[in-house]
Amino acid sequence: MNAWTFFLEHRAEILEATANHLTLVLIAMAFAIVIGVPLGMFIVHRATLRNVALGLASVFQTIPSLALFGFLIPIPFIGGIGRRTAIVALVLYALLPILRNTYVGLTGIDPAVLEAAQAMGMTESQILWRVRLPLARTVILAGIRTATIITIGVATIAAAIGAGGLGTFIFRGVAMVNDAVILAGAIPAALLAIAADILLGLLERRLKIS
């Protein structure tokens, strides 16, 4: 049986897995953004917390994804088998690029602009919201873009703990030593990643100030 006929015969199933995969990624990204961006804003002026937060986010990034899913299973409330655990792991993975880019974007502003803002009597929070944040938005979005692509890839492994998604086909295909089944999971996942990259890239270009 070649890959094409497998695709055609199982298209409904593949489509459903793709939709599952996408939901998993979107939920995880929503949490990662809601945590990462405000945290990045919060650590701009707090050196100790900044080192802890960035350090911790880096540590999560270094844990192999399969191991991280495994570690989370026995933890009460966030652990167990299924989607919730997978989302927690994906959020932890997506956090570093978002947090780091938010911080770098907010602090990488032309010092002359910040000096002018301060000298004209803007408060720290006015500078953060009206100057730093608008000027950092493309860098923050670049972090979100990276995180999304990572998450789409890592989410395939979530199938190992019963979270569904395109990984289901990949694990099944590996077990069956059947390339067609592996490709049924791998190709849509790759296409999702490419589409996300292009879309977010377009958005990034639109937000650029020149």
Partner: protein
């Protein structure tokens, strides 16, 4: 009766606070030292003592690293003296709410420091917006200021800073600093990054503007020619200390090696040797 006179006094005081024209626009440095710590090697400026009278244009002249910019930042409390005090508009800067103090002092820096994501209008309207002026007042103030600095409001109001030349950006920077009509203006080498022709043009125009506005101005530069053109008084700094304090007319007659070094930079031969 007593209450009435008290209320009147209160309203006069409030007027003095809100109306910049009535506020005391003078600046006094009283034995100011600023440094990382007080050991002589870490001092950036030492034992600075001078006053700027209302309406005066004081030029702080000196080489890079002589402490000019530090003095400027001590005036709007971007820095606080390590020793001594700077008295601005009748109060030591340490006692001022920094936000209130800074909104009453215009600030112009090299390359203007305009907000790249704001239009020309939004840049100029920044302090009036922070001070919650109403929209019609802001928009009439913006066109007034653009005209004042020689830019056509219709052509420039909605441009972004990257759509302006260096000279135009600097003009917007001056307009922004003047927006809320502050009694004091601080300028840190505002024309330093411009080509010589544009620089001369802006210096001439600004000199006329300064005379007309009657603001108290502290202007930092390393260019003696600029100092002579704009100053009502020149203070020369060397390694964080004042070495000369004179009117432009007297300045070149002062017998001090650093003064001679600066006057020599004016002679056409100075370039030939370099």
């Amino acid at each position: 009766m007593h209450v009435h006179s008290q209320m009147r006094r209160l309203s006069i005081e409030m007027n003095a606070k809100t109306d910049p024209q009535k506020a005391d626009p003078t600046i006094h440095f009283e034995n100011v030292t600023y440094g990382i710590n007080l050991s002589v090697h870490h001092r950036i400026v030492s034992d600075i003592r001078f006053s700027v009278a209302s309406g005066q244009t004081l030029v702080l002249l000196g080489r890079s690293g002589s402490g000019k910019t530090t003095l400027l930042k001590l005036i709007n409390r971007l820095l606080v003296p390590t020793k001594g005090q700077v008295i601005v508009r009748g109060r030591p800067t340490g006692e001022w709410d920094p936000i209130r103090l800074r909104r009453s002092i215009g600030y112009v820096i090299q390359e203007a420091g305009l907000f790249p994501h704001f239009t020309v209008t939004q840049n100029i309207a920044l302090v009036p917006n922070l001070e919650k002026w109403d929209a019609p007042r802001i928009s009439s103030r913006v066109s007034e200021l653009l005209t004042l600095v020689g830019l056509d409001p219709i052509e420039f109001a909605s441009r972004k800073p990257h759509e302006l030349s260096g000279g135009q950006r600097q003009r917007v920077g001056v307009a922004r600093a003047l927006a809320a009509d502050p009694p004091i203006l601080l300028m840190d080498e505002p024309f330093g990054a411009l080509d010589p022709v544009t620089r001369a043009e802006l210096q001439r125009e600004f000199s006329a503007l300064a005379r007309r506005l009657g603001k108290t101005i502290v202007f930092v530069t390393h260019d003696l020619r600029e100092a002579l053109l704009l100053a009502s008084r020149i203070i020369l700094l060397e390694s964080g200390r004042i070495v000369a304090d004179a009117t432009p007319q007297e300045f070149s007659r002062i017998d001090h090696p650093e003064v001679r070094a600066f006057t020599a930079s004016l002679s056409p031969l100075a370039g030939a040797h370099a």
